[in-house]
């Protein structure tokens, strides 16, 4: 017997696959929103006596996501700030707009590059680690065992990751922006007669309420979405350890796609 899909014309097959992808996308959004709802409900039902333990786990998450990522963020931010300014200088020096370089760099870094870089670093380090750990927990039945033994896995595992990630992403964005701008200033200082005070003045002119709002909203959205998306893929692991790497890869790719999409949409809302 010939499977029905083989007999279908190619446009129908393409449409069918496209439809399946859309359905899977909506299912993913549903799974992520459900996890977020569980986390928020858990935060609201948090008992005062559980706070010290929760803070302990959250602190560990922040140490891993933010503190341990500082060397990598420092290096990449410095290089990105420096190379971006080099490119800007190369492209704009013929137009006599060198005095605006600091402002252009500041807008570029604070509005787009900083949050994007932090998002990529957090996904590649913490998002994949979270997905691996959660998938392992799910596969070995630890989540169920925790729950029936009086430890709510949402409150103990998910909520600290959510809170830790939001805090870490915000802190890292501020750190990366600062380092990237300093890296840019260093290159500018090598090529142009620019003083640090003039650089700071230009920065002050470039950073307005919209830049601060963008930093805040991107930190909240990226910091919330990365642990939720990664966990949602990880919790779908059911039977075999071979599902684990697949889930981690999907978690990283899914988070990255959401990061790019949400960053673009947010920029459109704030700046256009």
């Amino acid at each position: 017997m010939i499977p029905m899909s083989r007999t279908l014309p190619i446009p129908v097959k393409v449409a069918s696959r496209l439809g399946a992808a859309v359905v899977a996308g909506f299912a993913r959004v549903g799974a992520v929103v459900r996890l977020l709802f569980l986390c928020l409900r858990s935060i609201l039902r948090l008992r005062g006596e559980q706070m010290p333990l929760m803070l302990e786990v959250t602190r560990t998450q922040i140490r891993f996501t933010a503190l341990d990522a500082l060397p990598l963020c420092f290096l990449t931010a410095l290089l990105i700030g420096a190379t971006t300014l080099l490119q800007l200088f190369g492209q704009l020096s013929g137009f006599g707009v060198e005095s605006y370089l600091s402002q252009i760099l500041a807008k570029l870094v604070i509005r787009e590059l900083g949050p994007l870089l932090v998002g990529i670093v957090v996904i590649s380090r913490s998002g994949t680690a979270m997905a691996t750990e959660m998938a392992n927990n799910q596969l070995s039945g630890q989540l169920e065992a925790l729950r029936v033994n009086g430890v709510d896995p949402v409150r103990f595992l998910l909520v600290p990751r959510l809170l830790g990630c939001v805090t870490s992403v915000f802190s890292l964005i501020v750190f990366v922006d600062t380092v990237a701008l300093l890296g840019g200033f260093f290159v500018a200082w090598l090529r142009l007669p620019v003083s640090f005070s003039a650089f700071l003045t230009a920065l002050g002119q470039a950073i307005g309420p919209r830049e601060l709002a963008a930093t805040f909203f991107k930190a909240v959205i990226f910091g919330t979405s990365i642990p939720m998306i990664c966990s949602s893929y990880a919790l779908e692991v059911r039977r075999s350890s071979t599902e684990l790497p697949q889930a981690v890869t999907k978690a990283a790719v899914g988070s990255l796609i959401f990061l790019l999409l949400s960053g673009a949409v947010l920029s459109l809302f704030i700046y256009v």
Binding site: S140, Q142, L146, N149, G150, V151
Partner: protein, 224 residues
């Protein structure tokens, strides 16, 4: 009838392999009951314990634990939240990224609201009773071994639960481990109100009335 701690109403359950364990089972577990369910391969004992604590999802029917419906979702359940259930699965169900000490202390801190130092001191005490104090700083082995199962039993005993569900150990037990396990069970069940279902070999037989799962029925003690 009102003193039932756990009630299964019209429950149909299949094992993870797809075998039918129960069909339309109605059963009540009375408070303070102590039962020994002898483990037989494929007999559904582990699936039955997983059902009793809300991990296994029945195809039909419902479970009521301490007067509140028990579901397999993340919905909060007061009996579970206050740490009144002690479940010891065959693989121990310990968090593999935490040392044994932290694993035993975790429910004490989370469910019983003990402070960090107090919970760790209590956990140390119970691990000593289990003969595991010298490995308390180590993480559980993967795949789980008898040590993880015993640590899980120590975790259960430490929080003095109202309902103990003990699954069989992952391998044979030597005399020393059996003694330690029996001591932990005796401590956990010191209060006569504590209810226990113990799955395992004959070494547990004197700790509870015999229980049998046969043809979608749970028979206990002198029941025909």
């Amino acid at each position: 009838m009102s003193d039932a701690l756990l009630a299964l109403e019209g429950v149909t359950l299949r094992s993870p392999e797809g075998h039918l364990v129960f069909q339309g089972l109605d059963w009540r577990l009375q408070r303070g009951g102590r039962f020994h369910l002898k483990w037989v391969r494929g007999g559904g004992a582990s699936a039955f314990l997983r059902l009793c604590c809300g991990i296994a999802v029945p195809e039909a029917g419902r479970m009521v634990l301490d007067g509140v419906r028990l579901t397999a979702s993340y919905a909060p359940h007061p009996f579970l939240e206050r740490g009144a259930l002690g479940y010891v699965p065959t693989d121990g169900g310990l968090a593999v990224n935490m040392p044994l000490l932290a694993n035993v202390a975790l429910p004490l801190r989370f469910a019983l609201n003990l402070g960090r130092e107090e919970a760790q001191a209590e956990a140390r005490l119970w691990l000593e009773r289990a003969g595991l104090l010298d490995v308390a700083h180590l993480r559980p082995r993967v795949p789980a071994d008898v040590q993880a199962w015993l640590a899980s039993l120590a975790r259960t005993a430490a929080k003095r639960p109202e309902l103990v569900l003990l699954d069989r150990p992952p391998g044979g037990l030597d005399e020393q481990v059996r003694l330690a396990a029996r001591d932990l069970l005796a401590q956990a069940g010191a209060d006569p109100k504590v209810t226990m279902i113990l799955v395992g070999g004959d070494w547990l037989a004197d700790l509870g009335e015999p229980m049998t799962i046969i043809e979608s029925r749970v028979l206990t003690g002198s029941q025909p």
